[in-house]
């Protein structure tokens, strides 16, 4: 565990130390880049059909429905977030009000933390602790050594994305329906978990990410009415909102070095929707259409970038009524390297994470 933790920290440091060139020179994939990818499938609301699958990059073996087959029980209803920290993997099962803790390699369940009625949403890690946001206005702090809840802090209700950096916790707070459409980015002190300040971004901030330029990027969904979606950029040096760019409308973000990959889903037919490339150094859209080999996506539902190889994994949920999904791995030139076809137990495939 400790060794893995050091490795993870080291990898992060390597990332931050990356040279700040203007663009990526594609590096050939290293054999040890990732043994495989976990694909989280959110499942349909009230469907109890969230799922987890694993694709071994070397052997091209897909293990569908892995959590259920290993643990002889279902993952639950609406799995919203997944992350590996150390030797363990964490899945936030929103509507089952669970945080599932399992071995990152075997997927064997180690603990289930049940938080009735809190509606947990996203997870981030710092100093051996996991921090989970929730709709109910509670921040769960889980000790990753003991798999127990160490602390519960009160935060703003309707909390979504979370990033922990520089001893600060940044949380996007869209609010809970009917008090949604908030424009709040809440900043907490990591030690006290008390709110230090709030920053104003676009309405409904949900996804957060950091880049190598000390930026915090916040995707705002807009108010679904008059205010369009936007991408807010915040300086992590002084917590100033550098810009809130309404020309960048996106549902999801993946970052690799100086690039952010973004897409906007129509939620019905995305075959004409591109993956956009946003230059994080210049703060401008660089490429309106990343995919260069004619691959189309039916229903964008997730995007991830391999921090080592720069490969981009796009999750295609295929359609709003589908139990199948497709994950396409593109190289950094937007050409398909391989695809993973999940033929069942994959409603709303939403997240790809890397097992190293």
């Amino acid at each position: 565990m400790n060794k893995r933790l050091y490795l993870a920290i080291a990898a992060t440091l390597v990332l931050f130390a990356c040279s700040k060139k203007n663009d990526v020179t594609p590096t050939p994939p290293k054999a040890d880049s990732a043994t495989g990818v976990y694909v989280l499938t959110e499942g349909a609301f009230n469907g109890n059909n969230a799922g987890l699958s694993f694709y071994d990059i070397k052997t091209k073996q897909l293990s569908l429905h892995l959590f259920a087959s290993v643990n002889q029980r279902a993952l639950g209803d609406v799995a919203n977030d997944i992350a590996i920290y150390g030797s363990k993997m964490y899945i936030v099962v929103n509507n089952s009000n669970n945080v599932e803790i399992m071995d990152a390699h075997t997927v064997k369940s180690l603990a289930t933390i049940h938080v009735d009625n809190l509606q947990p949403r996203h997870i981030a890690f710092a100093n051996g602790k996991a921090y989970v946001t929730s709709y109910a206005g509670k921040l769960l702090v889980i000790d990753t050594a003991t798999n127990q809840v160490a602390n519960t802090a009160t935060i703003r209700p309707g909390a979504e994305g979370i990033v922990i950096v520089n001893n600060k916790v940044y949380i996007g707070v869209p609010g809970v329906w009917p008090s949604s459409n908030q424009t709040i980015l809440s900043v907490l002190d990591l030690n006290t978990l008390a709110e230090q300040k709030t920053l104003t971004v676009g309405p409904n901030p949900n996804q957060l990410a950091t880049d190598q330029y000390d930026h915090l990027l916040v995707l705002c969904a807009g108010d679904y009415d008059k205010v369009p979606p936007s991408l807010a950029t915040i300086s992590l040096l002084d917590d100033k909102v550098l810009q809130n760019d309404t020309t960048v409308k996106a549902d999801n973000i993946a970052i690799y070095r100086n690039r952010a990959y973004l897409y906007k889903s129509t939620y019905k037919d995305d075959s004409k929707q591109p993956v956009m490339v946003y230059n994080l150094a210049t703060g401008k859209l660089q490429d309106g259409n990343f995919i260069t080999d004619g691959t189309t996506v039916g229903y964008y539902y997730g995007i991830s970038a391999d921090a080592v190889t720069g490969d981009v994994y796009v999750t295609d949920a295929l359609s709003y009524g589908s139990s199948k999904a497709k994950v396409t791995c593109f190289d950094s030139n937007g050409k398909t390297r391989f695809t993973i076809a999940l033929n069942d137990y994959a409603s709303f495939a939403s997240k790809v994470i890397f097992l190293r």
């Binding site: 009230n46 002889q72 279902a74 509507n95 089952s96 209700p157 309707g158 019905k268």
Partner: protein
């Protein structure tokens, strides 16, 4: 019933104003009795009915469960007494099913799907399902505006009785805190006027046990938040004058408080959402023959529906919702028919509807809708051939107080139907129809908060049907055998669907779906008197429906069977009577289904059969009854993760004066 030209019409009219007696068929010198509804198989459009007696034998708590015994019907049932129950006919969708209460439409402008779990068969003389539309030329224009119409006809003074006052009171009780008292009163005050009053209270906690399978674990749980209390009051005044003109004035009040049982979510306790409904309406229907060959019918209605939806959210006010909705409707209709000779009738119906919906939802649009419906119908009739055609014009005008409003619509939709008797002797008929109809988007779909979509177009349904009917009275033993079978092909385009968004609160409503429906409905009914004093009645129905999603070629669910639509389904009702003892068996069968249009193993839901049995014994003015519902304790769900109740028991007693 002897049918001829306009006479049919008058006779039908006169009958419609009266209770439907058990059909008594005269065979040579022998009187036979049947408990089956007197359903005419002679019309060009399929009609299925259950009589008051059959409803008693069915012993179901709501009209939705009774409708399950009609071919072509799929009931979506979220379980228990209080769970939502909607009726879709021939897979057109619940929004295409009209509900007529004594001939006048009930509407739910807010969400368009009438919860038939809220309507009790307790006060009904008859429940009928008309595919396409009713065949009565005195129908309102609105009755033509649906893909299918379910008609609830209330009971009235039993003319077979001699006392001017008829009183009936009963109480039923059973498993999971079920208690259901009711009172019915009919009073005939003189030659022209009868008055009726009906009251029913129902209450259940609904905390039935159910089993959840989760991998190797089997969880024994109880349904929570599933209770309902409801009160229904109805008052009718009927006038019938010498010149055959009639007037019916009706007041209806319904009030309930219900918990909304949520999905059975793994690892999590269900929510505590609550719904209050209050519905009140007053309606009048006046019929008058005017001069030679003319008939006039006037209908009017005022209706008020109040709904309060309460979700306590996640505690400390987070996510708390407490919204009140008030919808109002004013409705007027006039129908005029004219007989031209012995074989031809023309009818013109003109309706106006005003709907308004107020809500204390943030940034609400406060929509109002004026609907003008005009229908011109012509019927050509001989004893062996009947052809009916009609054109319905619909004008929709909407206005809102804030935000964009839906477009004005002006549409004309046709219906043509025919029935032909090829042989002079056998009572065998061929029938067929073609109907084009649409449903307007509901106020929720158009304006709900920021997710409604005012640019929605109507959802179109086209129906083609061809069928045959045959009936025969054989002998005293097999007094009646009736068989009808119809094949149909329907298409639904611009289907209005709600797409999930990034979270449970962001969704969008669009015209996106396209569905092709190929199906067959078969009904068989028999009435037997094998031994002296025994009466046997049987009614069976079978439905085949292939309902394919043809929205997006290449999508995983392209040409997949629509969710919750079994290929095969059916039902059986049987009752045996002997000197005051009645034993009834009712069974419902549904084949396998999928929970999504993507027909994969993970969405597979196995079929189920539910068997109910009940018995009643009559001792003069007292009747006692007992029932065992779902006596095989079948574990099933109609909607995924909404478990249905297992075996339950019921006892009841009734007193009649």
């Amino acid at each position: 019933m002897v049918l001829c030209g306009a006479g049919l019409f008058m006779a039908a009219q006169a009958r419609a104003q009266q209770p439907t007696p058990d059909s008594a068929h005269q065979l040579t010198g022998v009187e036979v009795t049947s408990r089956l509804a007197d359903t005419s198989l002679h019309g060009p459009l399929p009609v299925q009915s259950v009589s008051q007696q059959q409803l008693t034998h069915l012993n179901v708590p709501s009209v939705a469960q009774a409708a399950q015994h009609f071919a072509g019907v799929i009931v979506k049932d979220y379980g228990g007494l209080g769970g939502l129950k909607t009726v879709s006919v021939r897979s057109l969708g619940a929004n295409h099913t009209g509900v007529l209460y004594d001939g006048i439409a009930i509407s739910d402008i807010q969400n368009g799907q009438i919860d038939l779990g809220k309507y009790s068969p307790d006060n009904l003389a008859r429940l009928s399902l008309y595919n396409a539309q009713p065949t009565d030329l005195l129908s309102t224009a609105r009755a033509y505006s649906y893909g299918a119409a379910l008609e609830l006809q209330t009971a009235t003074f039993d003319t077979a009785g001699h006392k001017p006052l008829q009183l009936q009171t009963r109480v039923k009780g059973g498993s999971w805190g079920y208690i259901d008292p009711s009172l019915t009163l009919h009073y005939k005050a003189g030659k022209t006027y009868t008055t009726s009053f009906n009251a029913q209270y129902r209450s259940i906690t609904g905390d039935y046990p159910y089993i959840t399978d989760n991998g190797v674990a089997t969880l024994h749980q109880r349904r929570t938040n599933a209770g309902i209390h409801s009160l229904r009051l109805e008052q009718d005044n009927r006038f019938a004058w010498k010149d055959a003109s009639t007037l019916q004035l009706k007041a209806y009040y319904y009030d309930d408080s219900q918990q909304l049982p949520g999905a059975d979510i793994l690892y999590s306790t269900p929510g505590n959402t609550h719904l209050w409904n209050r519905q009140a309406f007053a309606q009048a229907a006046y019929f008058k023959p005017v001069g030679d060959g003319w008939q006039l019918k006037l209908n009017g209605k005022f209706s008020y529906i109040h709904t309060r939806y309460y979700d306590p959210g996640l505690g400390n006010g987070t996510g708390l919702q407490d919204n009140h909705y008030n919808s109002y409707e004013s409705y007027a209709s006039a129908v005029l028919t004219r007989s031209l000779g012995r074989h031809f009738i023309l009818a013109y119906a003109s309706d106006g509807i005003y709907n308004k919906l107020n809500a204390d939802v943030k940034a609400y649009a406060f929509p109002e809708r004026f609907t003008f419906l005009n229908a011109l119908t012509a019927r050509y009739y001989t004893p062996r051939l009947e052809i009916q055609g009609n054109a319905l014009s619909t004008i929709l005008n909407e206005s809102v107080q804030t935000g964009p409003t839906a477009q004005h619509r002006n549409l004309v939709t046709p219906t043509v139907s025919a029935s032909w008797k090829p042989f002079t002797t056998a009572d065998f008929r061929l029938r067929g129809y073609y109907k084009q109809i649409f449903r307007a988007p509901t106020f929720d779909e158009l304006y709900y908060s920021t997710f409604g979509n005012p640019t929605l177009k109507p959802e179109y349904a086209t129906q083609y049907d061809a069928g045959a009917t045959w009936q025969r009275h054989f002998s005293r033993v097999l007094s009646l055998l009736r068989i009808s079978a119809d094949g149909y092909y329907n298409t639904v385009r611009d289907k209005i669907i709600t797409l999930p968004g990034k979270n449970a609160y962001s969704f969008s409503v669009i015209n996106f779906g396209k569905v092709h429906i190929t199906g067959a409905d078969v009904n068989a009914q028999a009435s037997l008197q094998p031994l002296h004093g025994w009466i046997l009645s049987m009614a069976a129905n079978y439905t085949y429906q292939q309902v394919l999603d043809v929205t997006t070629p290449g999508a995983p669910q392209y040409k997949g069977q629509l969710p919750y639509t079994p290929l095969h389904s059916g039902g059986l009702m049987c009752s045996v009577e002997k000197h005051g003892l009645v034993i009834s068996y009712n069974g419902i069968y549904s084949g396998y289904r999928y929970a999504l249009s993507d027909n994969t193993p993970s969405n597979y839901m196995s079929g189920f059969t539910v068997h109910d049995v009940n018995a009643s014994y009559n001792l003069g003015s007292w009747t006692v009854m007992g029932a065992v519902n779902n006596f095989t304790d079948e574990r099933y769900a109609v909607v995924r993760n909404f478990p249905m109740p297992g075996r339950s028991y019921q006892l009841g007693i009734q007193w009649k004066y």
